[in-house]
């Protein structure tokens, strides 16, 4: 089921993750979130932007402790924990935030 933004159609997989990572734009990220009835705030974007930066460097989403540490450094220690991340992304920070960031879903026993 492709997702359409500004008249351009982008391929997604069975679970709605972008197939071509290069397609991603901020608007597309917002459209992916809207499909899940999730409205992206600045707090969400802080996480999504970090995921994209990390992916760019390492070709994988960050591990949970890498993510919480980075968010803690950027937004304050009270937010550097998975409780805060689950409030933002209730389906799981790795899986849900990756989807809006246009990154593949983490696989394995997670």
């Amino acid at each position: 089921m492709p997702i359409e933004v500004n008249g351009v159609s982008h391929e997604t997989d069975e679970e709605g993750y972008l197939v071509n990572l290069a397609d991603w734009t901020r608007e597309l990220g917002e459209a992916l979130a809207t499909e899940d009835d999730c409205e992206l705030t600045d707090a969400h974007w802080e996480v999504i932007n970090f995921l994209r930066e990390y992916y760019e460097e390492y070709q994988i989403a960050p591990a949970v402790r890498v993510l919480t540490k980075a968010i803690g450094k950027r937004l304050g220690k009270d937010k550097g924990n998975s409780k805060y991340l689950y409030e933002l992304f209730p389906y799981g920070p790795a899986k849900q935030a990756c989807k809006y960031a246009g990154l593949p879903k983490p696989t394995g026993c997670v």
């Binding site: 069975e14 679970e15 460097e57 390492y58 070709q59 994988i60 960050p62 591990a63 949970v64 402790r65 890498v66 540490k69 998975s82 389906y91 799981g92 790795a94 899986k95 983490p106 696989t107 394995g108 026993c109 997670v110």
Partner: protein
């Protein structure tokens, strides 16, 4: 969030009346051609699927005598019918173990037994419950053999010991051989070949993650506990599920292993080549893929020149390691013969505790009351230590050594009779969330019992799949995800370090004593 009803937890488990077709469906997402081909399977359903499937089944029943006996021996006594967590949670008749077996057995009878071969000439195969393979049966197999977590609880109660897991593995192997594979398992096995682990975590990301964890531990306890990666000349190679690097509560278990090694003065390393303990080759019943996944462990051990191999907290990995590793990729004659090959991390920790080598303050865990979930593969397919049943005893003795408050769940739900978490055997994927939630019901029921009667606050586990599965499904039953915990988190939190004693990592115990 879900379009199904979560089973209600009652005072005890009620055996439901069987219903027809309530869990019918198209099964989990199918593997793409590139996922299939990377594992040596056809990319999509082949034209000659009927012949290839029948021949594959013959090949498997000839290779594995157990499988043939399991297909031949059932007398329909019914002892297994109410033993499967998926049947108890869904009431679907085809989730009764005997019915699940019959999905394959009926086709085996038609093509590969004298009675089937004879009766089908007269169109009377139904007399013996034999069926000609059709595309509908292929779809039925795909759906219902992905509602089996290969946990083997039913086999404990079968008077013949018929092992549904073997049948479900064989069915998946037949399906893969005609180009019908599961995306979750097969994509993951491909990542192990390409990158080294189920997650697809490349070496630089792994190194960065471990470095971050080392900093975290040092901030926390003031001691430089190291997590060495690809260091040659260490004694122990630790092979652990990649979820231990990535997810919670797994990562706290990894921190626990590192603290144990550090305090005991054991020299160890992780390997980026074998950065995964899990072996999904077993879930899909593919000997060749299971062997290829295991080979990385052997290669890493030789490359790094270690003397011992230790496996972290992963249920099915320990089955492959304990039961199959030597025949798959042995002999391991280059390792130190004074230690079992391989060892479980709990055996290492248990031994250290018994010899008084760890400095433990169990009151550190006094804010929790624990219970322990026996992982199916550990409980029913392996052992720990030298005595029968050690795989049940050793984890409990370790937990009790580091926690003052511990209660077991009801006896018929633990040990050899343990209920599966509901996510094992390649079921731990979001597209199977309904069967995962429903299949967790019996374990949740048992947990509820000790929560209400004994004030249990946390359930400890020793398997990456169990930990992820419970964290995900436990909220459906009114618990919270942080109630699931790694056994080695409990150990790590109870260890007392005289901070700043050691400035450098991995100093031997003797050196530390000399310093004092």
């Amino acid at each position: 969030m879900a379009d199904f009803e979560t089973p209600e937890l009652k005072d005890y488990i009620e055996v439901p009346l069987p219903q027809i077709g309530v869990m019918e469906g198209s099964g989990p997402f199918k593997a793409k051609p590139d996922h299939q081909e990377a594992l040596g399977f056809p990319g999509e359903l082949i034209d000659d699927w009927e012949n290839v499937a029948i021949n594959k089944l013959a090949d498997l029943t000839n290779r594995y005598r157990g499988l043939r006996v399991f297909l031949d021996a059932c007398v329909k006594c019914g002892a297994c019918t109410d033993k499967c967590h998926y049947y108890l949670g869904t009431a679907d008749a085809k989730n009764m173990p005997v019915a699940r077996q019959d999905l394959l057995r009926s086709v085996y009878r038609y093509y590969h037994t004298p009675a089937g071969k004879f009766l089908k000439k007269f169109g009377m195969e139904k007399l013996i419950g034999a069926r000609k393979l059709t595309e509908d049966i292929i779809n039925e197999w795909y759906n219902y053999f992905h509602q089996c977590s290969q946990c083997r609880r039913c086999s404990v109660f079968c008077p013949y010991g018929i092992d549904t897991a073997e049948i479900s593995m064989a069915a998946r192997e037949v399906l893969d051989s005609i180009g019908v594979g599961q995306k979750y398992c097969n994509e993951i096995i491909g990542k192990v070949y390409k990158i080294g682990n189920n997650l697809g975590l490349p070496e630089p990301a792994l190194a960065d993650t471990l470095e971050g964890l080392e900093e975290e531990i040092e901030e926390d306890i003031g001691v430089a506990v190291k997590m060495p990666l690809d260091q040659k000349g260490k004694d122990i190679l630790l092979v652990t599920p990649s979820a231990d690097f990535f997810a919670e509560p797994h990562v706290d278990g990894l921190i626990g292993y590192a603290k144990v090694f550090h305090q005991a003065g054991l020299s160890w390393t992780l390997s980026s080549h074998a950065s995964e303990a899990g072996n999904f080759g077993m879930f899909i019943g593919s000997y060749e893929n299971m062997q290829r996944v295991s080979m990385r462990v052997r290669e890493a051990a030789i490359e790094l020149g270690v003397k011992r191999i230790v496996f972290g907290e992963c249920g099915h990995a320990w089955r492959v390691a304990y039961s199959f590793l030597n025949t798959l990729v042995g002999p391991f004659d280059f390792l130190d013969p004074n230690y079992p090959v391989p060892q479980h991390i709990l055996e290492v920790t248990h031994d250290l505790i018994q010899r008084g080598k760890l400095n433990i303050d169990a009151s550190q865990n006094d804010h929790m009351t624990l219970t322990f979930h026996d992982s199916c593969n550990v409980a029913r397919a392996t052992r720990m230590g030298p005595k029968p049943g050690g795989q049940m005893v050793i984890p409990r003795e370790v937990i009790k050594a580091v926690c003052n408050n511990y209660y077991d769940m009801p006896e018929d739900t633990i040990g050899e009779a343990t209920y599966c978490c509901g996510g094992g055997g390649g079921i731990l994927t979001d597209d199977l969330i309904e069967i995962r939630v429903k299949g967790a019901m019996p374990r949740m029921q048992a947990l509820k019992t000790v929560v209400e009667e004994n004030g249990v606050t946390h359930m400890a586990a020793i398997c990456a799949i169990c930990k992820s599965q419970f964290s995900k499904v436990i909220p459906y039953y009114g618990f919270t995800m942080d109630q699931i915990i790694s056994v080695h988190q409990l150990v790590g939190d109870a260890l007392v370090f005289e901070s700043e004693i050691s400035e450098s990592s991995n100093e031997s115990e003797e050196t530390e004593n000399e310093k004092e």
